[in-house]
C-alpha cells in the first residue's frame, strides 16, 4: 500500500538532494501498521479453505502486506476462520494472549460470528466474541476471498483511526485480554 499524497496530512518541501516530508506520528505509525498486517492463520473449518485461496496466486493477499505467520509472536491479526468448539476455546485464548499488542481479530464466517448453523449445539462456542474481542465480523458460509479482502480493508480503516496517546492503540478489551473473564 503506497501513500496517496492528496489524502495525507503531510508537508513536502524540496531540499537540495531530495524531498523532506513532515507528517504526524499517528499517521506514520498507523500507515506502517495497516500496511503490514501479519495474520496468524487459525483455520478451524471450511472457512480455512477460502482463507488459503485468498493467500494463493489468484487473490494474492501479499499485495496488501498480509503475510500468514505460523507463530502468534509474529502476528498482529488473528483470523479465526471456522467453527470454534468448546474444546478449542482454551487453546484459542492461550494463543491470543501470546500475540503482541496491538492485536486484532477477524471473525470469519457465520460460525465464528455467532455459531451459525450450530446455534443450538452442545459443543460449539456461539461466536468467538464470547471469548475474545473481535474487530471485524465477516458474514458468509463460507465468505469468498473477496469478502475476506474487504474485511481486511475495513480493519485497515480501523487501524487508520488509532491514536498513539491511548494505550499504544489497544482497545480496553484488548488490554484486559478478553471481553469476559472465563
Amino acid at each position: 500500500m503506497g501513500i496517496i499524497l492528496e489524502k495525507t496530512p503531510i508537508i513536502l518541501n524540496k531540499i537540495p538532494g531530495g524531498t523532506i516530508a513532515l507528517t504526524t506520528a499517528d499517521f506514520f505509525i498507523n500507515w506502517a501498521r495497516k500496511s503490514s498486517i501479519w495474520p496468524l492463520t487459525f483455520g478451524l473449518a471450511c472457512c480455512a479453505i477460502e482463507m488459503m485461496a485468498a493467500y494463493a496466486t489468484r487473490f494474492d493477499f501479499d499485495r496488501f502486506g498480509v503475510f500468514p505467520r505460523p507463530t502468534p509472536r509474529q502476528a498482529d491479526l488473528m483470523l479465526v476462520a471456522g467453527t470454534v468448539v468448546k474444546k478449542m476455546a482454551s487453546p484459542l485464548i492461550r494463543i491470543y494472549r501470546q500475540m503482541p499488542e496491538p492485536k486484532f481479530v477477524i471473525a470469519m464466517g457465520s460460525c465464528a460470528d455467532c455459531g451459525g448453523p450450530f446455534y443450538d449445539s452442545y459443543s460449539v462456542v456461539k461466536g468467538v466474541d464470547k471469548i475474545m474481542p473481535v474487530d471485524v465480523y465477516l458474514a458468509g458460509c463460507p465468505p469468498r476471498p473477496e469478502a475476506l479482502m474487504y474485511a481486511v480493508q475495513k480493519l485497515q480503516e480501523k487501524i487508520g483511526k488509532m491514536e498513539i496517546k491511548e494505550n499504544s492503540g489497544a482497545t480496553a478489551g484488548q488490554e484486559s485480554g478478553a471481553r469476559r473473564e472465563l
Partner: protein, 187 residues
C-alpha cells in the same frame, strides 16, 4: 477355513450360536445380523478366526429411544436438545430407561470381498457390552467415542475415558434424552 459365500458363514454360525438371526431391515443392503450382546464378542472371534472377517470397519451405536419410524427417524423430534431451562423436561419425551441402544459393528473380509453388519441390542438403563479390543486394536478409540457420546460401557477396554467432548460437558450428548446444561461458554 474360509467360506465362499456369506450364507455359508451364517449357516455355520447359527449352529454354534442359536440366537443369531437375520435382521428385519438391512443396513445399506449389506448382510445384517442381529445378535445378543452376550455372544457378540464370541461371534466376532469366530468370524475373525474361522471365516476371514479380520478387519473391523466401524463400531457405532444408535439410540432407539421413543417412537421411531421404519427408516429409524424419530416421529417426535426431541425438543430439549438445547434447553434454555434444563430443569424443565418436556412432557412428550419418553420415560427414562425406555427403549434400547443398538451397537452396530461392521466387519470386512478381504478374502471374500464382503462386508457384514452385526447389530446388538443393549439395555438402556445400564448399558454394557464386551469390548472388542482384545480382537481388534482399532476398536480402542471407536469404543471410547461410543462411550463418550452414548455412555455404553465396554468391559475389558484398557482405557475407557472421554475422547471427544471436553471434561466440563457432563452427560452423553447423542442420547435422545440428553439435556444440555449451560456451561461457561453458553451465555
Amino acid at each position: 477355513m474360509t467360506h465362499h459365500t456369506v450364507e455359508d458363514v451364517f449357516a455355520k454360525l447359527q449352529k454354534i450360536f442359536p440366537d443369531i438371526k437375520e435382521s428385519e431391515e438391512k443396513i445399506k443392503n449389506y448382510p445384517t445380523w442381529s445378535v445378543s450382546s452376550g455372544s457378540l464378542f464370541k461371534i466376532c472371534e469366530t468370524l475373525k478366526k474361522e471365516s476371514g472377517f479380520e478387519y473391523l470397519d466401524m463400531v457405532t451405536a444408535v439410540d432407539r429411544h421413543g417412537k421411531v419410524n421404519s427408516a429409524g427417524y424419530l416421529t417426535e423430534p426431541n425438543p430439549c436438545v438445547y434447553s434454555q431451562n434444563p430443569s424443565v423436561v418436556p412432557s412428550q419425551s419418553p420415560a427414562p430407561g425406555a427403549g434400547f441402544f443398538e451397537i452396530i459393528i461392521i466387519l470386512t473380509s478381504f478374502s471374500m470381498n464382503q462386508k457384514l453388519i452385526l447389530v446388538s441390542r443393549v439395555d438402556r438403563t445400564n448399558p454394557e457390552a464386551e469390548s472388542l479390543y482384545p480382537l481388534f486394536k482399532s476398536a480402542d478409540w471407536q469404543e471410547r467415542e461410543v462411550f463418550d457420546l452414548f455412555g455404553i460401557k465396554f468391559t475389558g477396554h484398557p482405557n475407557l475415558k472421554k475422547i471427544l467432548t471436553p471434561d466440563f460437558i457432563k452427560g452423553h450428548p447423542l442420547r435422545k434424552d440428553y439435556v444440555h446444561k449451560k456451561d461457561k461458554f453458553d451465555y
